[in-house]
Subunit: 365 residues, 2 copies
């Protein structure tokens, strides 16, 4: 997911800052995440899939190149119908977005006015903070407990919109479907977003809630399990009534012909996706075991990354020393004793574990 | 451009309508434009280019398919640098969007709070109305006079943001650069957007204003002159200070790897674009002359379409009878005596003129 740093904020006194709204001028600027050059990098910092997408994606994209002169289908009907078949939902309750990030932005703009509340347990996907700030809305951030179960206070929040990243990033933990169902019922006055970006790597999905709870929106992305982070396709599954409202807010031609064609091919090749997901899950187990053997506490992950903690560890320094060896992992200032490590290939994880062992052993001597 | 009809509005009493903001629930729903099936359609209703994009686009897209597993460059640096070279602007003042529609949405969200004003002369691109309504902002719509010059009252509007579609849709007319310069100076307290979606078909661009007026944003799209409506790429050129603010509002990964690669190839092949633009301009002259010979008043067009008017004409009926002959043109209820006709190939325009002559002759007998 995206890297944001709190630097480079526009000062209110600059002429450009006067041209935009005060809450935009006061926000921190976006600084793109570091990309090291070269082929020898082991990149375990952005939860990309180490395996390629279905081979059928390339052919579908080549075919779509024939018609680039024409606007795309504004509602991405074929993709919506394929999603409806896959998950047993109504195609009119499906939206396709330019990545699930666009759909998150649509949800904020559709539901929450400036000053109203948006609530979510933290730590979680940092884009929720950014989107809330962009709308001038009020972020209600309820801390998770150490077991990352649903915080009891969340349901009482004065909010129009709830974000539940599930499996959660960066913890990798998942909330049981029964808890989500109870929560959606209790807050039937608000939109409850279950962000399932990583759910294909988990044992269970909450997509079935869409049929019974008209206020639930389940988000999916093709960036992780389908290995298509570069294509930008996200999906929202919800009730037909709520989908009709959300369609008004998205851009009319928000998904290109190429993205629609590629997404359709990828969704239809479930076998390719499943094979890579199974491999990632197997490697995830090896990674968790290896880290625990080195003394890390590793939460049981249902995603394609793990969060590894060592009490008293300077995780920032550890990430730096790994980077010296051209291995990138993710460090969050809010979690100073933890590293988030994406599940790469077996070879990449071997390299990581070896490097970590050497760094820790050098530190002890 | 997009087709919107005022139907299907969400009623405030439905459960889904309670979940979204009142101004969203009250808006008309989006209904995608009609697409007739079959190969024999002459499609002159959405201002697409009748000629294909540069052949180099397909190769660039095929190459980009190799890296779809990785997130795209969040700031589209290579595209920005190419645009900077082409137009002699600073690459840090350029934004790339998922179509210029996304950039229009970013501009509204960055500058104008609920209840504040957004001003533009009308008739113009109908998306300005939609985006203003989505933000809960106040549309200040100042009618053009019959010559489509800049209405004098516009500069006095209580607005944070101005939209000047130039060349204007659906009139095809262009405002002189000197008038735009004066306007930008007079309203240095507001953001002045010059939407140059069609400017490659015109004699003159206002892109030079970007260097001298920090409040000016010039928008471009690859959907028209570059024949890439299906790829979704738009460009904003502005001052570095304002660009820094606008970057905060767009999605972090808003332009896919495919769209970046295709856009770069298209922008680098100016010769391909220019050849097709010259052809469209030549056919535009033939179309205008032919329509005038039939008694239509045709405004001098600087775009890839013309607006043809006949006082007393039922243009809606005329569009229907053309449609019976599988020729699509655009009718606007606000302009009951006018048709907007996209410039197709010479063959398509011959077919249109022949059909129109037959319909008008049948009506007289």
């Amino acid at each position: 997911m995206s890297v944001r740093k709190s630097t480079n904020s526009g000062t209110m006194s600059s002429p450009a800052a006067q041209l935009v709204l005060p809450h935009i001028a006061q926000m921190a600027g976006y600084v793109p995440g570091e990309q090291l050059a070269g082929d020898s990098i082991v990149k375990l910092n952005t939860n990309e899939n180490p395996y390629p997408p279905s081979r059928k994606v390339r052919d579908a994209i080549a075919a779509a190149c024939e018609d680039l002169v024409l606007y795309p289908d504004p509602s991405a009907r074929e993709v919506r119908e394929c999603v409806a078949d896959l998950y047993g939902v109504d195609a009119d309750g499906v939206l396709v977005g330019n990545g699930s990030d666009e759909l998150l932005s649509v949800l904020v703009r559709a539901t929450t006015a400036s000053g109203q509340g948006i609530a979510y347990p933290v730590p979680t996907y940092s884009l929720y903070d950014t989107l809330t700030a962009l709308q001038g809305a009020r972020a209600i951030r309820i801390p998770f407990g150490p077991d990352y179960s649903l915080p009891a206070e969340l349901a009482a929040a004065d909010a129009r919109l709830f974000f539940l990243c599930n499996p959660n990033a960066p913890s990798g933990t998942i909330l049981p479907r029964a808890d989500l169902e109870t929560f959606a019922d209790r807050r039937s006055d608000a939109v409850v977003v279950i962000d399932e970006a990583y759910v294909d790597f988990a044992d269970e999905s909450a997509v079935g809630l869409v049929e019974r709870s008209p206020n639930v929106v389940v988000l999916r992305t093709l960036s992780k399990s389908y290995s298509l982070a570069g294509l930008r396709v996200g999906l929202a599954l919800t009730s037909v009534g709520l989908a009709r409202q959300l369609h008004k807010v998205r851009d009319s031609y928000n998904v290109s012909r190429i993205a629609q064609a590629g997404a359709l091919a990828a969704l239809k090749d479930q076998a390719a996706m499943r094979a890579h997901v199974d491999q990632v899950r197997a490697t995830r187990t090896r990674l968790s075991v290896g880290l625990r053997e080195m003394g890390f506490t590793v939460l049981e992950s249902q995603a394609n990354f793990v969060l590894a903690q060592r009490p008293g560890e300077d995780a920032s320094g550890l990430a730096e020393r790994l980077r010296d060896r051209r291995i990138l992992v993710r460090y969050f200032p809010d979690l100073p004793e933890s590293l988030r490590i994406s599940v790469g290939t077996d070879g990449e994880i071997d390299a990581l574990l070896k490097a970590l062992a050497e760094i820790l052993s050098a530190a002890r001597t």
